[in-house]
């Protein structure tokens, strides 16, 4: 054993103490509260997505002629195919929900403030990448929702002034949905976006480690108690519990509500009702409320404002240090998001 240890140490010159130091950073007490673990949840679900995604990619075929059939084959014929596909679908839903909840927690606790502004921006990029992965994901099935969702999505992009038509061409690989569109979506979904997410996650976690976790003190904490606890094994156990609960939840959802297969894409038949996945309900309702370009530009503006929020908030707080503006802005934003989502979900058209 000693021989192997020495051999390894020669090649990976890290000492035990260094490893402990790296992995065992003291964790602030507030992380004992489960809702502060939401940041790890999307990362955990991302790993699930990578694993199930690789398994699905073994059978998936990205040409329009074969895509739907290959998904049908996965769902109905491949051993455990229905389970893997259902877990993939539910993990995507939960991942997006977890990202949004994590972002809300960071926002309302002001954890994006100096010196963590850049990490908030990285987080915003992660949110956009996650949503894009969701969009390209359900486009791959090549059911009616996939085809028309992609077409509508591309048409929305087209309304952006100046670069709109180029964006549409880039997305669809042509002026309209064609043989190259689906392979492009597949490459985005299974290669470009996951790699981008891995890179951004790396930066996100590195910045987190460099700056440390924002520390909060709650009123019920006793002042004489230690303010930190060990990452290993204490916090790791908490993450393990969250992970196991998630896996059980995914298994239950996948078995009770397995992923279904809608009608195959038919470019000649526009469905009476086109609705994207729930996480785009906000955008969809917004687009219905305002005319084309205005809706797209305002949406872009809102996204850009969110991206720059730590800087804007810094400015506001410089002039009005006691201002609670960001909290109220956050409450309005959450109510608007929930309201628009419920509105879109509740109506038929």
């Amino acid at each position: 054993m000693f021989g192997i240890g020495a051999w390894l140490h020669e090649r990976i010159p890290i000492r035990g103490e260094q490893l402990r130091e790296m992995t065992n950073e003291p964790v602030p007490n507030h992380l004992r509260r489960w809702w502060f673990c939401l940041g790890g949840t999307p990362a955990y679900l991302f790993v699930v997505q990578i694993a199930t995604g690789i398994l699905l990619a073994l059978y998936y075929e990205s040409s329009p002629d074969r895509a739907y059939e290959s998904v049908r084959h996965i769902t109905h014929e491949v051993a455990f195919g229905w389970y893997i596909r259902s877990v993939h679908k539910w993990a995507a839903t939960l991942m997006i929900a977890a990202v949004i909840l994590h972002q809300m927690r960071v926002f309302f606790t002001g954890a994006y403030r100096k010196p963590r502004e850049l990490n908030w921006m990285v987080g915003m990029c992660l949110l956009v990448c996650t949503l894009m992965t969701g969009f390209t994901g359900y486009s791959l099935v090549y059911e009616q929702l996939s085809y028309w969702g992609a077409t509508v999505g591309a048409n929305i992009n087209e309304t952006v002034p100046l670069i709109g038509p180029l964006m549409k061409r880039l997305l669809l690989a042509g002026e309209a949905y064609n043989q190259q569109t689906l392979p492009r979506f597949f490459i985005l979904h299974a290669a470009v976006l996951p790699v981008a997410i891995v890179g951004l996650l790396g930066i996100h976690i590195t910045l987190l480690r460099l700056q440390g976790v924002t520390e909060f003190q709650f009123e019920d904490e006793k002042p004489d108690e230690p303010r930190h606890f060990n990452f290993f094994p204490d916090h790791l156990y908490t993450e393990l519990i969250v992970g196991l609960v998630l896996m059980i939840l995914l298994s239950v959802l996948a078995t009770v509500f397995p992923a279904e297969l809608g009608p195959k894409a038919d470019p000649l038949t526009t469905p009476e009702v086109i609705k994207p996945e729930w996480f785009f309900y906000v955008t969809f309702r917004w687009l219905k409320l305002f005319p084309g370009t205005a809706a797209v530009l305002s949406m872009g503006f809102i996204l850009f404002t969110m991206f720059l929020w730590p800087l804007l908030d810094g400015l506001i707080r410089r002039f009005w240090p006691k201002s609670e503006f960001s909290v109220w802005a956050g409450i309005v934003a959450v109510l608007a998001i929930v309201g628009l989502t419920v509105w879109e979900g509740a109506v038929a058209h």
Binding site: R72, Y83, D234, V245, T255
Partner: protein, 547 residues
């Protein structure tokens, strides 16, 4: 929280996760067993149908057992979903708290199977009920039977026969394939059908007087006219105005796709002396391959696409209706058929927007009316053929088929029709069909033998094309039809109708003077010699002694 507590929670959650994976494994095993036919599929009886299932399991266990084997049962479609009726429907009755109807019509099926119902409505299948006013039905209702009940000749020992139902042959014969005009018993002893109910666009009757006259039992269940129900004829005329019966092919109550894919299913009606498609198929290479390779046909598969799910052999459904990798499935077999061989003279399947065959002869007028050409239909069929045959092979086959149809049309059908029309024109036969020998002769020629020849060629069955087909057509034409027409003319000439007889004889003479009929009048010694010589050269023997 203490670390030991966390460890315990992790342990418990770990076990729960493992249990969830075992559950997944169990689901997978059950799924595979169901697929392999080793286990009964999981059935979830919808709450609204639970009472039906519980009661009918005792009363008609077969119905429930069949339903349990259906895709409907697996997908949660129960009794009520299909049999549900609304207040105002002609056939609605309250049955243990549910408003239901006995007959499920294509209108009912279309609630879920809209595309299929629409295709079916365009098909010739859905118009099968048109036979009720046709020559064929005249045979059953008048020639074979009688349109009104009549008195028996004498007693039938052991069976009380007060009157004879003259329509029995039509009801039990024609209408079981073509479809009946479903009727209720009327309180005045008559029958109430779609013509009386006058359904509106929503299928509900508009004639409340007729509805009020529907006879009902003590539970208010409407009583069917026994002659018209049960019936699963494919062109059934339903009381809601819809036409057809989906269960003609998708037998209730399991609605098995497997069965609909097999030729035996079509063979309920497509067989016999007048259109032996089933027997023709069995004789063809297609049928022979199917019989041999049936186990490789993947008949149980949910998706059944030629070129993807199976390649072993085609069945009727494969070529005429089912999906292949180049053509979607259709419930209108006519979408792939380029000739109709049903009438005395075959017609090209150029159809108008209403899916009716365009009969105009003027090319400009035809082009104006045609919405879907025979050639387009043929191309759809070829898209299926091309999974197993090369384009040259397919085109070669169609050339042979076209040639046979045209030969039949031109050598026998059109001349035969000309003779029959001339006899009628000259008053030498009555307008009533089947009351003269020559009318039976002509009917045999086109309706039985002529169809056999054409259908035989359409599905590559040489024996049906020749011996059961063209050989018998020729015999019927030369040995029966021509002599009978001559005999009628002779009889007419002897009874003061010399002009009329002359006209008929002139038509026959002109026909027989044509090169293709010359042999019959002038003999064909030269031709038989030539054939014998060719045989001698090719095979070294003379093809039999000269008689």
């Amino acid at each position: 929280m203490q670390l030991t507590t966390k460890r315990s929670i992790i342990g418990v959650l770990g076990i729960l996760f493992l249990i969830s994976l075992i559950f997944v494994q169990w689901m997978e095993v059950v799924r595979k067993q169901e697929e392999a036919g080793l286990a009964k599929p999981h059935i979830a009886v919808p709450a609204s149908s639970q009472a039906c299932v519980d009661c009918h399991r005792q009363a008609q266990p077969g119905i429930v057992a069949h339903w349990e084997g259906s895709t409907h049962a697996r997908k949660g479609v129960g009794c009520v979903e299909c049999h549900q009726a609304e207040e105002g429907d002609a056939d609605v009755f309250a049955h243990f708290g549910q408003n239901i109807a006995t007959i499920v019509t294509p209108r009912d099926c279309s609630k879920c199977h809209q595309k299929e119902a629409l295709e079916f409505a365009h098909s010739h299948h859905s118009k099968g009920g048109n036979i009720l006013a046709s020559l064929d039905n005249f045979l059953a209702e008048t020639v074979e039977g009688h349109r009104a009940p009549f008195n028996p000749h004498g007693p039938t020992p052991g069976f009380d026969v007060q009157s004879v139902n003259g329509m029995a042959s039509a009801f039990s014969g024609c209408q079981q394939c073509h479809g009946s005009k479903v009727a209720f018993q009327s309180t005045d002893g008559g029958a109430i059908n779609v013509d009386d109910l006058k359904p509106g666009p929503d299928g509900k009757p508009t004639n409340s007087e007729a509805v009020a006259k529907i006879a009902r039992n003590q539970d208010q269940k409407p009583l069917f006219h026994a002659a018209t129900w049960p019936n699963t004829g494919i062109g059934r005329l339903n009381m809601d105005g819809s036409r057809g019966s989906c269960s003609a092919c998708h037998s209730r109550h399991d609605f098995s796709p497997r069965r609909a894919r097999q030729p035996e299913n079509c063979g309920k009606c497509h067989l016999g002396p007048d259109h032996p498609q089933k027997e023709i198929y069995e004789e063809s290479k297609h049928g022979v391959a199917y019989r041999d390779l049936r186990e490789q046909m993947n008949l149980d598969a949910e998706s059944w696409v030629l070129g993807k799910d199976y390649n072993a052999a085609p069945t009727c459904a494969t070529c005429h209706m089912s999906a292949n990798t180049r053509e979607p499935a259709t419930h209108d077999p006519g979408e792939r058929i380029s000739w109709t061989n049903r009438p005395p003279i075959s017609l090209r399947m150029d159809t108008d927007a209403e899916h009716k065959i365009v009969t105009a002869t003027d090319p400009v007028e035809r082009e104006k009316q045609i919405a879907d050409t025979a050639e387009q239909k043929r191309q759809r069929m070829k898209n299926g053929c091309s999974h197993c045959h090369t384009p040259d092979y397919i085109n070669g086959f169609y050339k042979q088929y076209d040639d046979l149809v045209v030969l039949y049309n031109e050598k026998f059908a059109k001349p035969g029709m000309q003779i029959m029309n001339e006899l009628l024109k000259q008053g030498l036969r009555t307008k009533t069909d089947f009351d003269e020998e020559i009318e039976w002769t002509w009917f045999y020629l086109w309706h039985h033998e002529g169809r056999r020849a054409r259908h035989g060629a359409s599905m590559m069955a040489p024996d049906y094309t020749h011996w059961h087909g063209m050989f018998e057509v020729a015999e019927r034409f030369y040995i029966h039809l021509i002599p009978q027409a001559r005999e009628i003319a002779k009889h007419a000439a002897e009874h003061g109708k010399a002009e009329q007889a002359k006209a008929v004889n002139e038509v026959i003479d002109a026909l027989l003077a044509r090169p293709e009929h010359k042999w019959f009048k002038e003999g064909a010694e030269g031709q038989t010699e030539a054939i014998r010589k060719a045989m001698q050269e090719r095979y070294g023997q003379g093809g039999g002694e000269k008689k």
